[in-house]
């Protein structure tokens, strides 16, 4: 009887440990995904600043795709609620559409370019903060984390 109780206790502890490992692993995956989004938004800012319209449109598409994939994951929904992710997705979708239009005629309105820079910069800041939060959850943040 005692042996049975010990076995059950060990099994419960193992399950708890496994769940904890899955949680930590999810957080690490989240950090990696958000860092990738940050990297793409950083590239996009540089390309818009450089007035490279075709590359900007391609970079915006890639950022949109990365964000769309990540925002539907469980770990993303643990960090922010679905409405906030939907807002981010809408913003980057509009940035992408706008850059596609500009790239198609090789012209961009000066004011529109400033607005797009502002929106991508805001998104980049939000993602950087999220990366830190997710890193803390994963217990692996350090002063050099971006």
């Amino acid at each position: 009887m005692v042996q049975l109780w010990r076995t059950k206790k060990a099994a419960v502890a193992a399950a708890s440990s496994a769940a904890d490992t899955v949680r930590r692993l999810s957080s690490v995956v989240a950090v990696s995904s958000i860092e990738q989004i940050c990297s793409r938004s950083r590239d996009l800012i540089h390309l818009i600043r450089a007035k490279n319209l075709t590359s900007s449109a391609t970079a915006a598409f890639e950022l949109r795709e990365a964000l769309a994939k990540f925002c539907k994951s469980q770990v993303a929904l643990q960090l922010l609620n679905g409405d906030v992710w939907a807002k981010f997705l809408k913003t980057i979708a509009q940035v992408h559409e706008s850059l596609e239009c500009a790239a198609s005629i090789k012209k961009i309105d000066a004011g529109n370019r400033e607005r797009l820079l502002q929106e991508v910069s805001n998104l980049h800041s939000e993602m950087s903060m999220l990366s830190t939060i997710a890193g803390e959850k994963a217990g692996e943040t350090n002063a050099y984390s971006k």
Partner: protein, 122 residues
């Protein structure tokens, strides 16, 4: 550059139909579009920061495609047809922003003779 030949009659008809209130224009992030079953007709405007010239651009977009436009072109200020395409852009913006209805509403309020406008909150 002028309006491409295969678009000129469409732009003229679109302008007339818009003036008659027969076209539903929708504003989407600074672009005005007419949503059709197979594609969207889009029009947008700006000032090119390199050339410092105003332009009006038109594009056809398949909404199911995330990348690129089916076709696009622009007319710059001073080019032939700029007045026509700028008029279309202006009418599309007025319609999408429901300006005629808003102005009618203000006109009716003013005709009523009563005080209009909210009091400033302290």
């Amino acid at each position: 550059m002028p309006i491409p030949n295969d678009y000129r009659d469409i732009c003229e008809m679109l302008l007339e139909a818009t003036k008659k209130g027969l076209v539903n224009w929708i504003e989407e992030a600074g672009t005005f579009e007419v949503r059709l079953p197979e594609y969207n007709f889009e029009i947008w405007s700006g000032t090119d920061e390199l050339g410092q010239r105003s332009f009006v651009a038109v594009g056809l977009k398949d909404p199911s495609e995330r990348r690129g436009l089916l076709d696009s072109w622009y007319v710059e200020e001073g080019d032939k047809d700029y007045d026509l395409i700028f008029a279309l852009f202006g009418e599309a913006r007025r319609k999408a922003r429901r300006l005629p209805e808003k102005l009618d509403s203000l006109r009716n309020l003013l005709k009523s003779g009563s005080t209009i406008g909210e009091i400033e909150k302290s």
